[in-house]
Every structure is written in C-alpha cells, then in structure tokens.
Symmetry: C2
Subunit: 195 residues, 2 copies
C-alpha cells in the first residue's frame, strides 16, 4: 500500500498537499501546527495553500474525510449489510484493520482530533455516528445469541474498536507485518480470546 | 476516585499546578500548549510556575511520572511477580484498568506524547520498557501453554494493551460506569473473547 512520502513528490495538487498537511498535523498536533509549517513542509508558499483551500480547518476536514469516507463505505458493502450479524461484524472488523493500515496517517489523525474547533467537533460527531452503527451490529449479534450478552454492547464496541484503533499508535509499515496478519490476530482475540 | 477539578482549588502547590498543567496539555496538545496558558488556567503568574519547576518539559515529566510510577509499581506487586504467568497477566490487566480510570488525565497524556522533545522521547522509552515487560509475561504464558501460541507475543500485547489504553479516549467518570465493570469486560474479551 506504500504511498510516496511527502518529500518524494511536489505538492502541486490538492492530494499531494493533503498528504503533507496530514503528516504535519500528526507530528505537531493539529492545535500546535500552523499553515506556515504545512507550507514549509510542502515547499510551497502559504498563498499557494489558499489557492487550494480556505485554511487549516479545511485541510483537516479533507484529510480526515479520506479516513471517514473509507470507513463508512465499509458499512455499505454487501458483506456488512447481508447475513448474520456476527459474520457482518467480522467483515467490518477485518476491513477496518485493512483501512487503518492502508490509510494510517489519516486514521491516526481522525482518532487524535480533540474538539477545539467546529471542524473538529464535526469529526467527533462522525466518529460517534460510526461507533453507534457498529454497536447496533454488536447488539444484534448478542440478541441473536451469536455473542456473549454479559458485556454491554456499547462497552464491548468501545473495547473492540479501541483495540483496532490502537494500530495507529504502534503499527509501522516498514516493520514487515501486514494488515492481514494484524486483522487475523485482532479477530482471534476479539471473538475467541487469548486463551 | 473523583479528584477536584482544576477550577475547584488554587494551584498554590506543585501537585495542584500539575493537575492544571496536565489538563491544559490534554486540551491543547502538549506541542500546542504554552506556559502562558498553563499560568492562565492556574490563575497564577508564569513567574510562579518557574518557582516550582524549570518549565514546560518539567511539568510534562512530572505529570506523566504520576502515571508511569503507578503502572511500573504494579509490576512490583506480589500478584504480578509470583504464580502462573496467566494469573500474573490478569492481575496486571486489572490493575492497569484501575490506574487508567483513577489517573485518567495523566494516563491519557502519557499515551499522547509524540517525541518532539527530549522529555517526550524519555516518556516513549518508558512506554516501550513497560510494553516489553508485559510482552515477556505474555510469552511466558504462551510457553507454558496457558495462552494460545498462534499470535506473536508482542502483537498480542499491543492489541491487548491497545484495548486497555483506549479507555482514555472514551471513558467519562460521570458516565456512571466504574473501573471494575470495565476491567471485568476487558478481561473477558481479552482471554475468552466476545463469543
């Protein structure tokens, strides 16, 4: 999945500019990062950034949308809509890991948004909407006797996706491990446990 | 567990100043936060901060040490040192959740440190040291046939503690759920799975 690093190509279009902006936001924190730093990292002027977007919040929204669009698209896939709830949940877990590994910086940024600006609060709303849709599948699997019922569905969802989301904190593509291996391990732990 | 909020008491001593600093670092991001913001939130002058500490990095180190000291102390507890590896691992998982809930801001800050300064890199080193010690217990439990061996010990540790660490992202003390309920759910999922 390796996409070219920020330094390997000129950010002369919005996609390349977003690649750079996402990395600067991750490195400095969104609050701590300035458009000047994004411009410097991109090797262009701040005026050039304003040619593409309205400012820092627009860069955040577009960057995070790469992750959000991919994650919500999973819920529209046939395997996430048809069949038994547990099978659908497994599919969503596997695809979430795949997207996290393929879109590592964007998913990491999505998860680090705090809520200090209107755009950040919009992002948090989207995250909550995604969590609710997953919790519904978990509750359905519990109601159908496919998952244990002695753990609250919302709590189980948070712990399960907490495990998946942690990938953004420790996964390094150059480490040799693939998304497939991580997805397999996560599915085993989540549904069968470590024992 | 509820400690008084930053606004409820004057930060006239180092402990109270740290309470405020940790919260400001969390809200603005450590990189984005300034000593001026800490001073304003504490209702004291920047000179008063320098009476207590050398500066922003010292505040980070002392704040994060609250979490690190508590977590490393768990590994010295008899229940983490004596007995079967799986029993010890369960104990460490349960105590990690307890500490995360009791020291929520400090553990959250610990997990959000990025590594832009010498202190932050020291924090990352401590986190890696803790992870290695846990991975050793996981590997021991695998070697003894107490845990499944088809998942790499380091990967299993990362996913397991990723799940626990996620508590800092979604737990709200005012939500009514206690650390005990979360610890029970996390132990069930981790060792038995959701099925």
């Amino acid at each position: 999945m390796g996409r070219p690093s920020a330094r390997e190509r000129k950010p002369y279009n919005i996609d390349a500019l977003l690649d750079v902006a996402v990395r600067v936001f991750l490195r400095r924190g969104y609050d701590g990062a300035s458009l000047d730093q994004v411009a410097a990292a991109a090797g262009i002027t701040k005026a050039s950034i304003y040619y593409h977007v309205d400012g820092k919040e627009a860069l955040l929204k577009l960057g995070v949308a790469r992750a959000l669009d991919a994650l919500f698209a999973v819920l529209d896939e046939p395997a996430a809509r048809e069949g038994r709830a547990l099978t659908r949940l497994r599919h969503v877990v596997r695809r979430t890991v795949e997207i996290t590994v393929a879109r590592l910086p964007e998913v990491a940024l999505l998860l680090r948004v705090r809520g200090n600006t209107e755009t950040e609060r919009w992002v948090l709303d989207q995250r909550r909407r995604f969590d609710r849709l997953i919790a519904e599948i978990v509750a359905e699997a519990q109601a159908g006797g496919e998952l244990r019922r002695d753990i609250d569905a919302a709590l189980a969802t948070r712990l399960l996706f907490g495990m998946l989301n942690s990938i953004t904190e420790w996964y390094r593509p150059e480490g040799g491990m693939g998304g497939e291996e991580i997805a397999e391990a996560a599915i085993k732990i989540a549904f069968e446990g470590l024992r």
